[in-house]
């Protein structure tokens, strides 16, 4: 089916492009783009699995998402805590803020290292 082939290829290219942009400059926004493109592509591959099986590619997409989970989780928790901590409890939050900040940096570094090796360049393989 032409529509399906074109859509798979378009979403694969979107993920590969987002990955490359994150590798060239690992920012929070670019990491978010990798995750969003990955989720869309994964959802497509799962939806059409019976027509276009691609177990290997789906596995690579899932692993890539897992490799970015920790960085994104730390970023979200950090921002949320910074914005919602009661002023009277700020001093109590400091150790957790510091821990989340360190986790965010380390997890982003790891995501960058792992995504550098990832490739989404082929849609074949079952």
């Amino acid at each position: 089916m032409k529509w399906l082939k074109g859509t798979v290829e378009k979403e694969r290219r979107a993920l590969e492009g987002a990955r490359r942009r994150f590798i060239s400059k690992p920012t929070e926004k670019r990491l978010h783009s990798v995750r969003t493109a990955g989720r869309r592509f994964r959802s497509l591959l799962e939806d059409v699995a019976e027509l276009a099986p691609s177990a290997k590619l789906l596995g690579r997409v899932k692993r890539a998402a897992e490799q970015t989970d920790a960085a994104r989780d730390a970023t979200i928790l950090l921002r949320l805590l910074e914005n919602s901590v009661d002023p009277s409890e700020r001093h109590l939050a400091e150790p957790l803020l510091a821990k989340l900040s360190a986790r965010e940096k380390e997890a982003t570094r790891l995501a960058h290292k792992r995504l550098r090796r990832a490739r989404f360049t082929g849609s074949r393989g079952t």
Binding site: T7, R40, S43, L44, L51, I76, S84, V85, E89, L96
Partner: protein, 143 residues
């Protein structure tokens, strides 16, 4: 949570593919909507993931039926509300016990997000009824 498999036997065109995918994903989200009523963390999480799958499917097939775009935007709002509740659940699970004021604030925000999601879900179901590509049992008792 693994997605329900989409039965695609005999599908040869985009319209039929869209129908089958949307039918499966909408059935899945309706089945998991109980999590929204129960308001528990796991139930809300599963419902949120199902909403995400519906939204992506709606966006993907919007070029075949433009009415899907409006519903997709609505699911995006619903997903945002559920995401805000989820983020608060996660933060609440690691928050030091001595931070009672912050905890109270986060818990209240969490409940407000779930309330918003309940309203958005009711509206989303109405919108789904107007999509020609989606065949729903309007009288069925999915909440």
């Amino acid at each position: 949570m693994k997605p329900d498999p989409v039965p695609l036997h005999g599908v040869t065109d985009g319209i039929e593919l869209a129908r089958r995918v949307l039918d499966t994903r909408v059935c899945e989200v309706r089945r998991l909507a109980g999590g929204l009523q129960q308001r528990d963390q796991q139930g809300l999480h599963d419902f949120r993931i199902a909403c995400k799958r519906v939204r992506y499917a709606l966006e993907r097939f919007a070029d075949l039926d433009s009415s899907l775009e409006t519903v997709a935007k609505h699911f995006e709002l619903l997903q945002d509300a559920l995401g805000e509740a989820h983020d608060r659940d996660v933060l609440l699970s690691v928050l030091p016990v001595a931070m009672g004021q912050t905890e109270q604030r986060l818990a209240a925000e969490r409940e407000a997000s779930v309330d918003r999601a309940v309203v958005l879900w009711a509206q989303a179901q109405e919108l789904l009824l107007d999509c020609p590509l989606i065949v729903l049992e309007a009288a069925s008792n999915h909440s």
